[in-house]
């Protein structure tokens, strides 16, 4: 036996990771990935101010548009739960079909020593067998002369292509209970030890289950009921999304980073219209209080028969 064969035969008792260890590690990675998205959104504010000042996108920063808001959101969320419970089930996405969602978003992207802003339109297709994402990006804007210089030093890499497509893995089934008590326990277990606080992490998980998803009316009702029970979830009040639809915003505050994450729901439909990230007193980056540092508005949702097809 060569020493190499011997080495290969050495560990006699290698097991697969336990289901629990694997789930924990996967959850850790996903939360890490999501935080990076929030951080990206948080970095939007400076360029947004620059752009607004240049008159390019006046709506981007709407300081003070969101009011204060510390009343409990529980009554309005329970009303939304009641609305959702009575709604017809959405069209089932069959094998070979896809849930199409179009949203208006703006992310920053960057490399070592530079950051640039690319506002975009995001379209996703998720089905049981495959998924796809297509994004169209506006012209990138460098935040500062230093960012531009950093980009030049990096060899002028492409920031965002005008269009960007990728195939995605199939949609993972939501696999969440529709009983509010069971759902609360499940989301609580997933949230403990992650994010900056269990409460804000639970709110994030509620948002995760709602966006670009096929949640049934019963599940949406349960998610709203859970949100009503999360300590500190507050009613922000009437809100208008990025395409002018009126709704009601509820929010969770992450006091560690001074950030309020708002979910805007249609007043009559109780559907998720959009999300906003609002900077608060004492936010780590010194942004103006009330400034919006990121958003997504969900414009269209439909079932289509082909990957890449639009309704």
């Amino acid at each position: 036996m060569s020493e190499l064969d011997f080495l290969r035969s050495l560990p006699f008792d290698i097991d697969l990771p336990t289901e629990e260890a694997r789930d924990r590690a996967r959850g850790r990675l996903l939360r890490h990935a999501r935080r990076s998205r929030i951080n990206r959104r948080r970095r939007l504010l400076v360029p947004a101010i620059a752009l607004a000042a240049a008159g390019l996108i006046a709506v981007f920063v709407d300081v003070g548009n969101h009011g204060g808001g510390s009343a409990s959101a529980a009554p309005v969320l329970r009303k939304f739960a009641a609305i959702a419970r009575d709604q017809a089930a959405p069209t089932v996405v069959k094998r070979g079909q896809f849930r199409y969602t179009k949203s208006v978003v703006a992310y920053t992207s960057g490399g070592n020593g530079w950051t640039a802003l690319g506002p975009g339109v995001r379209e996703t297709w998720f089905g049981p067998t495959a998924g796809r994402i297509h994004e169209t990006w506006g012209k990138p804007v460098f935040l500062t002369a230093a960012d531009r210089a950093g980009w030049i030093a990096a060899g002028r890499p492409q920031v965002n292509p005008p269009e960007d497509s990728a195939n995605l893995p199939p949609a993972r089934p939501l696999d969440l209970p529709t009983d509010p008590d069971a759902l609360y326990d499940k989301l609580h277990d997933q949230a403990v030890g992650h994010g900056n606080s269990t409460d804000s992490e639970m709110f994030t998980l509620v948002g995760d289950a709602l966006r670009e998803s096929d949640a049934s009316p019963a599940l949406r009702a349960a998610l709203y009921e859970v949100a009503a029970r999360i300590p500190g979830v507050e009613l922000v009040g009437p809100a208008v999304d990025r395409v002018g639809r009126h709704g009601v915003a509820v929010a969770s505050v992450d006091s560690k980073i001074g950030l309020r994450h708002e979910l805007i729901f249609g007043r009559k439909t109780a559907a998720l219209l959009g999300e906003e990230y609002v900077e608060l007193e004492g936010n780590a980056d010194g942004y103006p209080v009330g400034a919006v540092s990121g958003y997504a508005t969900y414009v269209t949702s439909a079932v289509v028969d082909r990957l890449g097809a639009r309704p």
């Binding site: 011997f6 080495l7 290698i14 590690a25 990675l29 890490h32 990935a33 999501r34 195939n167 893995p169």
Partner: protein, 178 residues
């Protein structure tokens, strides 16, 4: 969708990176488990993927298979756990003792002792070859070394593992490395 395509897509949509986890977690965990045992492997494997996520902008997108990259990140994390690894090697040596009457077991105990003494620069590529089944070229990519360097370090490492009793290297063994 290749690993490289998933990494590219994850730049716009971070959660796509979970695809890499689904594909490679067991392999990374298995490799870490061989080196430091199951409990530490849970931690090392989990951290490998969050680190990889942070480093994904620097990934060479011409490489479809990301497993060498991930194992290289794991190898770097394992450097912190050398004491655990030594204990693990001792446990391997002990597990060989009950059949110490067999010549191969005695040989094994010596080999494990030699593995413990091996300098890290030789142990690392050797274990990626033996326990992660990477090719020389993949090991070079994982560790950021030229292929020739990997080749010579592995060959030196193998030579050191051979106790004087086992005699000199046979030609066919030298050839079966990859």
């Amino acid at each position: 969708m290749t690993d490289a395509q998933a990494i590219a897509a994850s730049l716009a949509d971070p959660e796509v990176f979970a695809l890499l986890f689904d594909r490679h977690f067991n392999a990374v965990h298995g490799y870490a488990q061989r080196r430091v045992g199951r409990d530490l492997a849970d931690e090392v494997a989990a951290e490998t993927f969050t680190r990889a996520f942070d480093q994904r902008r620097r990934y060479d997108l011409t490489r479809d298979d990301a497993s060498p990259w991930l194992l290289g990140i794991a190898a770097n994390l394992l450097r912190r756990h050398w004491r655990s690894e030594r204990r693990r090697f001792d446990a391997y040596a002990r597990s060989l003792s009950p059949v110490a009457g067999e010549p191969s077991a005695a040989l094994g105990v010596e080999l494990v002792a030699a593995l413990k003494r091996l300098p890290r620069r030789e142990r690392e590529p050797l274990l990626l070859l033996a326990w992660a089944d990477l090719t020389y070229e993949q090991i070079a990519f994982a560790l950021g070394l030229p292929v020739g360097t990997v080749r010579s370090r592995i060959s030196r490492g193998r030579a050191r593992l051979r106790s004087p009793d086992t005699g000199s290297e046979k030609p066919q063994e030298a050839a079966n490395s990859v």
